[in-house]
């Protein structure tokens, strides 16, 4: 109970800090986007081939683009206050609907990527630390340096070449086999198969980072007195590593995971394009080219929500892992 109260305090602190952050993000994003040249009306007019001044004015009026920027901002904020993200001038549907269609795909991709990054990174780092200075450590260090230095889209393309084209094991894009009419477990497996390559491409960079971090942390923790105490109890090496070393070594790694979430989301834009993954990243990319600012703002807002929620989860995880974490 004491334990839960402590976690609740951590939660409350994080949420209180999040409110001004989100407000700041909205206003900043809005103003920055307004600085960019061109708006939805321009792009649409360009696509029609030609448009009269009157048509343009009419379009702008309909989208609310004709009033001063500050007024647009206030209108947007008051919309938000009513939990509405506005309409997409482009598609004529509520932004929340567009995002709602894409969000689950991206979330799944991110969760999977993060799970791979964590699981593989920690395993890799622990293996490197346990063999520090010997050849497994050297080889794995090289591998992780490779993951760290090559760009995600290139890894993505190479994985497609290897696993889809050459070996024909995994699909090269999309998130499900279209028209296969699969149900139940088969459907889930099909989705999973589609997810492996994009999630891995997204994760490998972070696998390298968590691997290096874990290696350093495990080495540091292994020389602590309490690890010697554990050995003096007669515990076998595996139990010492799992119960006493890794749990402490995870502390510095989890702290950084929160920071990396934004990065993973950014990387998703590229990876979703490479794998034609119908997610938020591609939606954002499309809305930039179409000057569909309402959609873009919605995506950005949601992204910051995601990052903040993830950070909160990481804070909670950290507090749960480390009993010394208290509200300051």
């Amino acid at each position: 109970m004491l334990e839960n109260r402590r976690l609740l305090r951590v939660l409350r602190r994080t949420v209180l800090q999040a409110v001004p952050t989100i407000l700041g993000i909205i206003i900043l994003n809005f103003l920055l986007l307004k600085l960019a040249p061109g708006d939805a009306a321009d792009v649409m007019a360009g696509e029609f081939g030609a448009a009269t001044e009157e048509t343009m004015a009419m379009l702008r009026q309909r989208f609310g683009l004709d009033v001063p920027v500050l007024q647009q901002l206030l209108a947007y904020l008051s919309n938000l206050a009513q939990f509405s993200l506005g309409q997409s001038p482009r598609y004529g549907v509520p932004v929340s609907e567009l995002i709602g269609q894409r969000l689950p795909s991206t979330l799944m991709l991110m969760v999977m990527a993060l799970a791979i990054a964590f699981g593989l990174g920690i395993a890799l780092g622990t293996a490197m630390a346990l063999t520090a200075g010997r050849w497994p450590d050297r080889v794995l260090s090289l591998v992780s340096l490779f993951f760290y230095s090559v760009p995600g889209f290139w890894i993505g393309l190479m994985l497609i070449v290897l696993f889809s084209v050459k070996l024909n094991w995994l699909p090269s894009g999309g998130q499900e086999t279209i028209g296969a009419g699969l149900t139940g477990l088969d459907y889930a497996l099909d989705r999973l198969k589609h997810m492996i390559l994009p999630a891995t491409s997204l994760a490998l960079f972070y696998v390298a980072i968590y691997g290096r971090l874990t290696r350093a942390a495990v080495l540091e923790v292994s020389s602590q007195d309490y690890v010697r105490t554990a050995a003096a109890k007669g515990l076998p090496p595996l139990a010492i590593t799992l119960r006493h070393v890794i749990r402490n070594a995870l502390l510095p790694v989890t702290t950084l995971a929160g920071i990396h979430l934004g990065g993973i989301l950014g990387g998703a834009v590229v990876i979703e394009t490479v794998y034609s993954w119908p997610g938020l990243g591609r939606l954002a990319f499309e809305s930039v080219t179409r000057r569909d600012f309402n959609v873009l703002l919605g995506v950005l807002l949601l992204s910051s929500f995601l990052v903040i929620i993830a950070n909160t989860l990481v804070d909670l995880l950290h507090a749960w892992l480390d009993p010394r974490v208290e509200v300051r």
Binding site: Y226, T229, A232, R247, P323
Partner: protein, 332 residues
């Protein structure tokens, strides 16, 4: 002395550079308290870790044997050695602040050793942990059992360490400077506790210390270690009454609680040039550079620890010769 429980003989611990423990031997009887005394860097902790077979990776046991209940621990396969650690021989360390895992409750850390060696269920181990906390006189054990180490004071943490160590009723408890990090009043309490547990549980106690002041009150026998070699070994009373090795004399003189009984001035050691670090490269007696009565013969080879009279061992031939002369003078 009763039957030997632990018998360390000619133990030599080597690192790639230097041999901090050389040809060192001593024994501990069942239920006995043996103090191993020596200044910082003399090899006390290394000896203890060698008994537990937990030496740092770079260390190598170059020679010697460690007999324990009829086995040579140095010849034991690692899985068998793990059954000795924590169950037959337990160890507590100098630094209670860092010797407990910060992310596990003290209850879990005590329970861990019970589940490992006695196969208790989680529930039974927890119950037993509470009893053990009570045994080491931790107040409100049923509450403390769920506390994390950072909430406890140094003295409390050392009590938790002790509870963990005695959980499986070991035959031998090695306490490596268990009170050095604690203040004086707590020191006495912790030593009292160790002594009470030794009697109640029938353990032997290897008490490592650099403080001769605590030896007289708690130890049956004393082994004096200098630069990784045995200098003198005797029952506690006679050793304090009548130290023979020049190093023991110096140690006693520097010990504030005892200097009233002796004629040596405090700080005599400080006037002797050299330090324990320079001693290791000497071919002869390691104490020669700091010894006021060194003879040329002392520089040839390190003197062995030899019995000069019953229950009294000394590694200083000049002193031994003098003792012999005195004894025969009295006898005549």
């Amino acid at each position: 002395m009763t039957a030997k429980l632990l018998d360390v003989s000619s133990l030599t611990i080597a690192f790639p550079r230097g041999t901090p423990v050389a040809d060192f031997g001593f024994a501990i009887g069942e239920g006995e308290t043996v103090a191993v005394v020596g200044e910082s860097g003399s090899g006390k902790s290394l000896t203890a870790l060698a008994i537990m077979r937990l030496l740092p990776r770079t260390a190598r046991i170059a020679s010697g044997s460690i007999g324990f209940r009829g086995r040579d621990l140095l010849a034991l396969p690692e899985p068998d050695m793990r059954k000795v650690r924590g169950r037959e021989i337990a160890m507590i360390f100098q630094e209670p602040m860092t010797s407990l895992n910060p992310v596990l409750t003290v209850g879990k850390q005590i329970a861990e050793v019970l589940r490992l060696h006695e196969g208790l269920s989680a529930e039974a181990a927890r119950k037993r942990s509470i009893e053990l906390l009570d045994l080491v006189r931790v107040a409100d054990p049923h509450l403390r059992v769920d506390d994390f180490p950072h909430r406890l004071s140094g003295g409390m943490r050392q009590r938790v360490m002790i509870a963990m160590a005695v959980a499986c009723r070991p035959k031998l408890l090695i306490a490596d400077e268990p009170t050095t990090a604690l203040d004086v009043t707590i020191q006495a309490q912790v030593l009292d506790l160790l002594d009470r547990l030794r009697r109640e549980l029938g353990m032997a106690l290897m008490l490592i210390t650099h403080d001769l002041g605590i030896v007289g009150q708690w130890a049956d026998r004393v082994v004096v270690l200098y630069a990784g070699r045995g200098a003198e070994e005797a029952d506690a009373g006679p050793l304090l009454e009548d130290p023979l090795h020049p190093y023991t004399k110096g140690l006693l003189a520097a010990s504030p609680r005892l200097d009233a009984r002796l004629h040596y001035t405090a700080g005599a050691l400080r006037e002797i040039p050299g330090s324990i670090a320079t001693a290791q490269r000497e071919p002869g007696c390691p104490f020669v550079p700091r010894c006021a009565m060194a003879l040329p013969s002392c520089r040839i080879s390190p003197p062995p620890l030899e019995e000069i009279r019953p229950r009294r061992l000394l590694a200083c031939p000049p002193t031994a010769a003098q003792e012999q002369a005195n004894a025969s003078a009295v006898g005549r």
